[in-house]
Amino acid sequence: MSQPFTRFQGTDRYLSNESLESAVNCALVLERPLLIRGEPGTGKTLLAEAVSEALGMKLIRWNVKSTTRAQDGLYVYDTVQRLYDSRFQDKDVSDIENYIELGPMGKAFDADERVVLLIDEIDKADVEFPNDLLNELDRMRFVIDETQREVAAKQRPFVLITSNAEKELPDAFLRRCVFHFIDFPTPELMEQIVHVHHPEMEASLVQQAMETFYEIRSMKRLRKRPSTSELIDWIAVLKAAGVTDVKLEGNLPFLGALLKKEQDLVAFADQLTGGRRWRS
């Protein structure tokens, strides 16, 4: 731990700040998982790529879905394939190892070099999922029951866990992690992010698009407020369609790129036309 290591300072495609870098570096040095929370579109997933790129570590992704179980991350034993193969004589079905496939976490432990393991959107899985991961995250080793082989991390991977802001994670889990909350980008930061993605874009259009974007975000009663990705996509379509200026009004070009829910389009129209329809 006391040996010098390479610190993370962002990349030329990923905007970071002191506080985010500090959290990443704490997690790297303390060898604890880094939990990143924030609204969708605040660059949580992209951070894993940035760390991997900046520090030259391989990135292993584990995209969590509602059906994901902790076991999937370690390994899966393909019994069906084995059963199937046993009907023919051409494969060695006696060696179970042939039917064990390491999951993302297993692969991260098994790697020869230190890797980045991204556990993306942990909040999507069942409530018990984070608890089920605790042990392996701590010890960084596990045993494959079927073969008794132990998979142990040669180098503790840098584990980055992302979660959208709204879901509670268990205490025991939280206390093991270094934590960082990514704020929604300020307009200044957003301008730079947009610039990274659309470097040759005309400044005045970017300015107008951003103003409109933040205004829409501040509207009341939106179920899903547009985020960074939506803004970047929207600017891309504006550019492609040759739009030269945008103003916040009824027929905003390609509004669908920003607001994707029917109710939100209604709320938008409401607030734009009637102003405030209720007195306070």
């Binding site: 731990m1 390479t6 610190r7 993370f8 300072q9 002191e18 040095v29 205490d171 206390r175």
Partner: protein, 394 residues
């Protein structure tokens, strides 16, 4: 300095214990704070805080402890180590895990390393609000691969100072009292669940079948029963618009949590603005009105009524007949408060959930409405108590 800081955090119910303190000691030992108070702010926050709800507590505790204070590095770290040593001996609330952590940690070793670093930096000491100075040795050496310097907002040193950052109180909006997510709400609402077995559509009673078959000496005997059905009917009435706008997000979460709950036999949702008069509406945009009298006719007293609103309005809206300027029809002119009392009387069980913090519940219309409805704050605890109340028999 350090100990008051930790206790300041604990006083604010931020769960800081030995686990966090040990991690922080390690980070300081590794020099992650780069020898500045600003660095310390970020490192301590990343390690001591585990949820955005506590970020504001962190900022406040940090300000209280460090504002206008000349921070002396030696003392801070001494205190941290003393505290850790002491924690090992006399903190009764340590978990086994924390105890093991402390065992593993060798304070003498940590201290020695720390002192070495202090010695190295003595000459560079700059005092002031800076910790040891800004040019101390860095733990970040140059091993094999060199990192590319990325784009950084504000640039190093140009960012705001820790005190300024803390002072901006950027995270006040994430405080616990303001956050409540859909899943938590769903869990709380689950208490409203009751089931009955009535009606046709038989389903297989597996246990009954096994028992009967066994009794029958293994001859299959199929037993069926009516399926289990949810038996709770709920009416949710929400105040929207105006002073409720700041709570729109919270209310929409409550709304989706209720909608998603599959354990109600029936769920009706209605909207009103400020107070209920003769009608409530089926949409947030106040279309599709339904007369309250008709509603009471349709829905028996066994429905559970959940009112949601800040209960804040001009007194005349509550106290004078047809307080709403829109309401004059049907000869049903009555004061808002009378309509509320009618609703409350009709249903055996009802609650009012209020998103407004409880400390503002006195000396305004909230007080009046709370004398009609059993009122609970729209927080996780409040929701829990409210559902318990709704399930009490009467």
């Amino acid at each position: 300095m350090f100990v008051p800081f930790i206790y300041e955090l604990r006083a604010r119910e931020v769960p800081v214990g030995a686990t966090e303190a040990v991690a922080l000691a390690r980070a300081l030992e590794a020099g992650l704070h780069e020898n500045s108070l600003d660095g310390f702010y970020h490192v301590a926050r990343a390690i001591l805080i585990h949820s955005e709800r506590h970020l504001d507590d962190f900022d406040q505790a940090f300000l209280k402890t460090f504002r206008g204070v000349e921070v002396e590095a030696k003392k801070l770290k001494d205190e941290l180590f003393d505290w850790l040593k002491e924690a090992r001996e006399n903190l009764p609330e340590l978990t086994d895990e924390e105890r093991a952590l402390l065992e593993e940690l060798d304070p003498e070793e940590l201290e020695r390393l720390f002192n070495e670093r202090m010695e190295e930096q003595k000459e560079k000491h700059q005092g002031g609000n800076k910790w040891i100075g800004t040019e101390g040795t860095s733990p970040f050496g140059h091993s094999g691969r060199a990192a590319r310097q990325g784009i950084r907002v504000g640039g190093k040193g140009k960012g705001r100072s820790a005190i300024k950052t803390a002072d901006a109180r950027l995270y006040a909006g994430y405080r616990e009292d303001l956050t409540l997510d859909v899943r938590q709400m769903q869990l709380a609402l689950r208490k409203l669940r009751t089931f009955t077995r009535v009606g046709g559509d038989e389903e297989l009673d597996l246990e009954g079948t096994i028992a009967a078959t066994a009794k029958n000496a293994g001859e299959l005997e199929v037993v069926t029963q009516p399926p289990r059905r949810p038996n709770t009917r709920v009416i949710l009435m929400m105040d929207v618009g105006g002073s409720m706008d700041p709570f729109a997000h919270l209310c929409s979460r409550l709304f989706s949590a209720t909608k998603k709950s599959s354990h109600f036999k029936e769920l009706r949702t209605y909207y009103f603005h400020n107070c209920v008069y003769g009608r409530v509406y089926e949409t947030e945009r106040f279309t599709d009105p339904i007369r309250v009298n008709d509603l009471l006719h349709e829905c028996g007293p066994h429905y559970k009524l959940i009112m949601v609103g800040d209960a804040l309005m001009a007194p005349y809206e509550l106290m004078s007949p047809g307080g709403s300027i829109h309401w004059e029809e049907d000869g049903e002119r009555a004061e808002g408060i009378v309509w509320l009392m009618r609703l409350q009387k009709h249903f055996r069980r009802s609650v009012w959930l209020n998103p407004e913090p409880q400390k503002y519940w006195l000396g305004n219309t909230i007080e009046n409405i709370a004398s009609v409805f059993d009122m609970y704050p729209l927080t996780l605890d409040g929701l829990g108590e409210a559902t318990t109340h709704l399930m009490k028999s009467k």
